[in-house]
């Protein structure tokens, strides 16, 4: 299953890539593959913006805007002007422990 076309904010700079393979290891949607000793993006539309690749690329070759993707949180942030925060954050007060996010 894929989400909207061309909506993901993933960018990749091959010049900085050292071919360490970390991004291939962490991406849960196999967005990266190795080619000629460097990473490359296979299909950007599969990216879910989890941020794992950008966080774990030591060489700053990847950037992606990541955050919580539930609509209610985004609507709230649109209204309040803040960053979207997910309901499950209420867990700090001992509330929900669902699979949601």
């Amino acid at each position: 299953m894929k989400y909207l076309k061309n909506a993901a904010t993933l960018t990749f700079d091959p010049d900085r890539c050292t071919g360490c393979r970390r991004c291939v290891e962490v991406c849960p949607h196999c967005v990266f593959e190795m080619h000629d000793g460097k990473a490359r993006i296979t299909d950007k539309d599969r990216c879910m913006e989890c941020g794992a690749c950008a966080l774990n690329c030591e060489f700053g070759a990847i950037s992606v805007g990541s955050g919580v993707g539930c609509a209610a949180a985004i609507i709230r942030s649109m209204i309040t002007g803040g960053e979207p925060t997910c309901d499950c954050g209420a867990a700090s007060s001992g509330a929900k422990t669902t699979d949601c996010c």
Binding site: V26, C27, R46, A72, A91
Partner: protein, 392 residues
């Protein structure tokens, strides 16, 4: 690199320093403090703790890889969203089987279900489980929030003196934790090399046998019908919780008469609408998620709207539920598919492939549509009331 032998312990949970040099001493010298924490552990001992191991990192509970009935019931309840309270285990170190200094270290969240799934996956092997304090949230969510994160992991590794416990320098972190854990920083701060394990705990043993190598299939997070089905009860639960208000509004609209609110007309007039409401909730929060790949558009709002319209149109036009008033039919056809659409859009929060930029993009289009649809429905309902009171 930090000299690990000089690192002070920050944790006080059950990590009493041991004097004996033997890794697993047969007759441990139990200090006063150790006796206290030992009795603490045994007194509150959960069913899944089968013993205590005396290690260089202190007393470590041994856990079973079997699930008891309580574990299974707990799983079902947490999947139904029934736990308003914390469903968590105490963070810290645990042992599976009879681990020694060469055994693998698995990192987990302190959401009880995450922990249970991991220990069940370790059946037949020995290892250490290091549970992070994610405030009772699963790995995936907690990684997004940063509680399953670099700082917490580094703190725990140093806190339990993992470097003194095992002779190797590798830890296995669930792949879905990678969004919160920066492997290079862990390496720098603790000396441990992070291996990101497979997405699914059930692949862990195959992963280890392959020399800490995951196949592309193990790396990919699917969103199978089973996964979606598991999520449906929570979605429905949350949507239905909020629907009480909608039901009340419907009853008031239909009960409202020039002479006051009449219960009888509220019930007879409102009944079809209550049913519509229920059906559009089920369509948006259950049917759409289940049929996700079969609704041939990518936008979730549109998927939900299509499903809602497909359910609502025949009901309103072909069954006796509609038909009493053209105005009411119009309001139902405008409002309820949009409600399904909104609920379907909510489901993006639970999928494994939607993006925040995508949801924002959808909302920029659909939020005005929702507001307009709601406004039009209200106007139509007012017209209907005026008409039925013979004011116009």
């Amino acid at each position: 690199m930090i000299n690990l032998s000089s690192v002070k312990k920050k944790e006080d949970c059950c990590c009493t320093p041991q004097k004996n040099k033997n890794f697993l001493a047969r007759t441990p010298e139990i200090t006063g403090q150790a006796v206290k924490s030992l009795s603490n552990i045994t007194r509150e001992r959960p069913e899944w703790v089968t013993g205590i191991l005396n290690t260089r990192s202190g007393l470590v509970p041994i856990v079973t890889t079997e699930w008891t009935r309580t574990d299974r019931i707990g799983q079902i309840r947490s999947r139904l969203g029934g736990y308003r309270m914390n469903y968590s285990v105490r963070p810290g170190l645990y042992a599976v089987g009879a681990p020694d200094s060469s055994s693998d270290v698995f990192i987990s969240a302190n959401y009880k279900l995450s922990f249970d799934i991991l220990r069940r996956a370790l059946r037949g092997i020995s290892g250490w489980i290091l549970v992070l304090d994610t405030r009772g949230i699963n790995v995936w969510c907690a990684a997004g929030k940063g509680t399953f994160g670099t700082d917490e992991l580094a703190r725990r590794i140093l806190g339990v003196n993992l470097a003194g416990l095992v002779s190797h320098r590798r830890i296995i972190v669930p792949q879905l934790g990678a969004a919160g854990v920066r492997a290079s920083v862990i390496k720098k701060q603790t000396g441990f090399h992070v291996h990101f394990g497979p997405v699914d705990a059930k692949d862990i043993q195959a992963y280890i046998r392959a020399g800490y190598h995951a196949t592309p299939e193990m790396r990919e997070i699917g969103f199978t019908i089973l996964r979606r089905l598991v999520l449906v009860p929570i979605e429905l639960n949350q949507a239905l919780r909020k629907s009480a208000a909608a039901a009340l509004v419907i009853l008031i609209i239909f009960g409202l008469q020039p002479s006051g609110i009449l219960f009888k007309s509220a019930w007879t007039g409102g009944r079809p609408f209550l049913l519509f409401c229920l059906i559009s909730i089920i369509t948006g929060a259950a049917i759409t998620p289940i049929l996700l790949p079969f609704i041939p558009v990518r936008s979730f709002a549109l998927k939900g709207w299509l499903a809602g319209a497909a359910a609502m149109a025949p009901l309103v036009t072909l069954t006796p539920l509609g038909g009493t008033s053209a105005l009411l039919d119009a309001a139902a056809l405008i409002f309820f598919p949009l409600m399904s659409s909104y609920l379907a859009l909510q489901f993006t929060g639970s999928t494994t492939f939607t993006t925040i930029s995508g949801v924002k993009k959808e909302l920029r289009i659909w939020l005005p549509v929702y507001i307009a649809g709601l406004a039009i429905s209200i106007v139509i309902i007012i017209l209907y009331k005026l008409q039925s009171w013979r004011i116009i």
